[in-house]
């Protein structure tokens, strides 16, 4: 995993545009104007869904890119939040459903997810590399089967249905446009937060721990505490994504937190690239578009093969994802513009 760039053009005397970055401004404006041109389907099923999975993969990117901890349990953490919304809020499955208002349910759900994530981190933090992957995979699989066979809390295979996004300020937040802006708001906020925290003292320390934990320990840093706190932060992101996911689907069942979905998140993060927080969002868009439209390209029998081949091709051409691909093309483009001069 290559080093995440932390100091990006830190010249003194910046104006606000330089500090935020013109690219960010253009991207934000484009995303804000997107609902004017997109159909409802592209607003929610593609853009909204991509941003939810983008935030989920972002929580993985935070762990893997800055902390060097590869996790397969992010969807499990999101699932905890989703199930918490179903259990504490209201559902139509006639199981539990305390009917609490959303502004109590959401903080509870996110807190539950963050604490679960910290616990998972605490268990797996003493391992490295492939062993972290195995432990988190074991946790994800165990949670999936537990949810599938537990009827008292998780309501078994059918899970919970009839979960509604809240209605307030006279807006039903599951309507396409409001829901898009809800997802966009969360995505932007998480993106900015991760970008900011990567340049903060904590972020720098985390990256230093990733690169040389022994030296950091010798310098007097509490390595385990830093790592567990990174898990906690990732848990908040995954939890928020989980809340949006359950509002989006209107239901949650063990299929939502299955191992295949856990692997999807890893694919999203790897395809997009782990070097920069924009990577997971790029990856999510590619993966969601492929999963939605591959069936129209090659028919119902072989579409999963096509999806697999495209992913393979991306990783083969560029081991560090689409961002890496871009990083390699950019110098050529810059050269081209130099040559094009008179």
């Amino acid at each position: 995993m290559s080093l995440a760039t932390a100091a990006d053009g830190a010249a003194p005397q910046q104006n606000w545009l330089d500090r935020i970055g013109a690219g960010h401004v253009i991207l934000a404006v484009a995303l804000l104007l997107y609902p004017l041109v997109a159909s409802d389907f592209f607003l929610t099923q593609i853009a909204g869904y991509s941003m939810i999975f983008g935030v989920l993969a972002l929580s993985l990117m935070l762990l893997a890119g800055y902390g060097g901890m590869l996790s397969l349990a992010q969807i499990t953490v999101a699932g905890i939040a989703a199930y918490a919304v179903a259990i504490l809020g209201s559902n139509t499955s006639n199981v539990l459903g305390f009917g609490w208002p959303w502004w109590i349910v959401v903080p509870f759900a996110v807190a539950a997810a963050a604490v679960t994530s910290a616990l998972i981190g605490w268990i797996s933090v003493r391992t490295e590399g492939i062993y972290t992957l195995m432990i988190t995979l074991a946790i994800a699989t165990a949670t999936f089967y537990f949810a599938q066979q537990n009827y008292a809390i998780f309501n078994g295979h059918s899970g919970y249905a009839g979960i509604h996004a809240p209605v307030f300020w006279g807006i039903d937040w599951r309507d396409p446009k409001p829901f898009y802006f809800l997802c966009l708001g969360l995505a932007m906020l998480s993106y900015a937060a991760v970008l900011y925290s990567s340049r903060s003292t904590f972020g720098m320390t985390l990256q230093a721990i990733r690169d040389n934990p022994r030296r950091m320990r010798a310098l007097g840093y509490h390595v385990t505490a830093h790592k567990v706190f990174a898990w906690f932060l990732a848990g908040i992101l995954a939890g928020l994504a989980g809340v949006l996911l359950v509002w989006f689907n209107g239901r949650v069942s063990p299929g939502t937190i299955g191992v295949d979905v856990a692997i999807d998140i890893l694919i999203i993060a790897v395809i997009g690239g782990l070097r920069h927080p924009i990577g997971p969002f790029v990856g999510a868009i590619v993966v969601i578009l492929m999963q939605t439209f591959a069936i129209d390209i090659v028919g119902a029998e072989r579409f999963n093969t096509l999806i697999g081949l495209v992913f393979l091709a991306i990783v083969f051409v560029s081991p560090d994802g689409i961002l890496g691909l871009w990083g390699r093309i950019k110098p050529h483009l810059a050269q081209g513009s130099l040559r094009a001069g008179p």
Partner: protein, 413 residues
């Protein structure tokens, strides 16, 4: 700067790809939702063959318009079914959708149907009871019968003819097998039988050793309601474990999707009684004609599975109703839904009509597995139970008192 600008532009143009829902006037789009991935893939593909048989019968046209089939794939989980249905309805712009295949998917798609009153949903083969019995959707139609109806006659037959007094059940843990077990036990318990043990296993289970160990020694037979790979895995492992109790099959357990599998499993399956919406040795001319038409589909089984049959019947009903309204769904499908509610037609398996909840009333076939002359295993027709309705002949208010089907209901230990 330069880099990010381009990236943003690339994202923007990619995301605003125009939605290509411009169906020409002379074509009519029908969504086909089935399981083309996951543990029920084989079943979904046979469902598609059934639906395409119905389309082929009208030469791919209805009311002078060309039929365009848009396929959606799910993996048997309710989430994926709703996601695929949303894509078909909201992106591809279908006004008529045939599917889904399995029980929980049906319940989820019914809930989704309520949010799309202008779209007409016709079931595939999903057979959970509450898709139409409790809290139904006005625009969801089921011309295939439900899992409890499929069991009509089996419980009585097992008790009286086969002489089984104590039966253990092994079934998958979701709404469709609950419905099947309910249908079997409704008759079996009433006749005086007992079911001391019920095992529920997750879909896609690979290791059945703990389930097999938990089956009581003294049962006369085992009622198995598992589908596809699950049925093959259980039956193989049960035989390897030295199990010898005779079997009673759920509708999809002794279906062609399982009977065509290779190995010693075949010996265990011979003589297994079952019931369902089809029988392979049915010699009615309409059924034979259907089998011939079905066999023209690529990759067809020796005899159509009940998935091919269910998708065929539902697609056939869709096309008949579309023909009646001249292929016109411009009024939000209102006329089409009226035509569907009134529709009564002859299928390869007898007359089908709908009740007030838009659920089919149809003939059910009591069968027994035998070896055909060419060595293929077949479901031999034992008896036809005519015109079974959703309440299994019990008055509706009495039937509703039995409660919703679940793991613990019914019970007669």
């Amino acid at each position: 700067m330069h880099r990010r600008t381009l990236l943003a532009l690339a994202l923007f143009t990619g995301l605003t790809a125009p939605s290509m829902a411009l169906a020409a006037d002379d074509t009519i789009k029908i969504g086909l939702l089935a399981t083309f991935e996951g543990p029920f893939t084989v079943l979904g593909e046979d469902g598609e063959r059934g639906a395409m048989t119905a389309v082929a019968e009208t030469n791919g046209t209805v009311a002078g318009k060309k039929i365009e089939i848009v396929k959606g794939s799910s993996d048997a989980s309710p989430d994926s079914a709703v996601r695929a249905a949303r894509k078909l309805v909201e992106q591809d712009g279908v006004k008529v959708l045939v599917g889904p295949l399995s029980g929980d998917e049906g319940l989820a798609v019914k809930d989704y149907a309520k949010t799309k009153p202008d779209v007409t949903f016709i079931n595939g083969t999903s057979a959970a009871q509450d898709t139409t019995l409790r809290n139904p959707a006005e625009n969801f139609f089921r011309f295939s019968t439900d899992g409890a109806q499929w069991m009509a006659g089996l419980g009585t037959y097992a008790f009286n003819e086969k002489g089984y007094k104590k039966v253990a059940t092994v079934a998958e843990d979701y709404s469709f097998p609950y419905t099947q077990v309910f249908g079997f036990m409704a008759e079996f318990c009433k006749a005086g039988g007992h079911v001391p043990s019920k095992s529920w296993v997750p879909i896609g289970n690979k290791d059945f050793s703990s389930v097999i160990a938990a089956i009581p020694e003294d049962v006369d037979a085992i009622y198995v309601a598992l589908g596809g790979a699950d049925a093959v895995n259980f039956l193989t492992q049960y035989q390897q474990a030295g199990g010898s109790a005779p079997l009673i099959g759920g509708s999809i357990t002794v279906d062609q999707t399982v009977l065509t599998s290779k190995g010693k499993l075949r010996d265990v399956l011979k003589g297994t009684p079952s019931a369902g919406p089809t029988a392979d040795t049915n010699d009615a001319p309409a059924w034979k004609a259907f089998v011939d038409a079905y066999k023209k589909q690529p990759g067809a089984f020796p005899s159509p599975s009940l998935f091919a049959h269910g998708y065929y019947v539902n697609m056939k009903a869709t096309l008949l109703a579309l023909d009646q309204v001249g292929g016109d769904v411009s009024d939000g499908g209102k006329k089409l839904r009226e035509a569907l509610s009134k529709l009564s037609f002859d299928t390869p398996t007898g007359k089908v009509s709908l009740d007030k909840n838009r659920n089919a009333v149809a003939d059910i076939f009591l069968t027994e597995v035998t070896e055909g002359s060419d060595g293929n295993l077949l479901n031999k027709l034992v008896k036809v139970v005519p015109q079974v309705n959703q309440t299994l002949g019990i008055p509706e208010d009495e039937f509703m008192k039995l409660g919703a089907v679940n793991r613990d209901n019914p019970s007669c230990p």
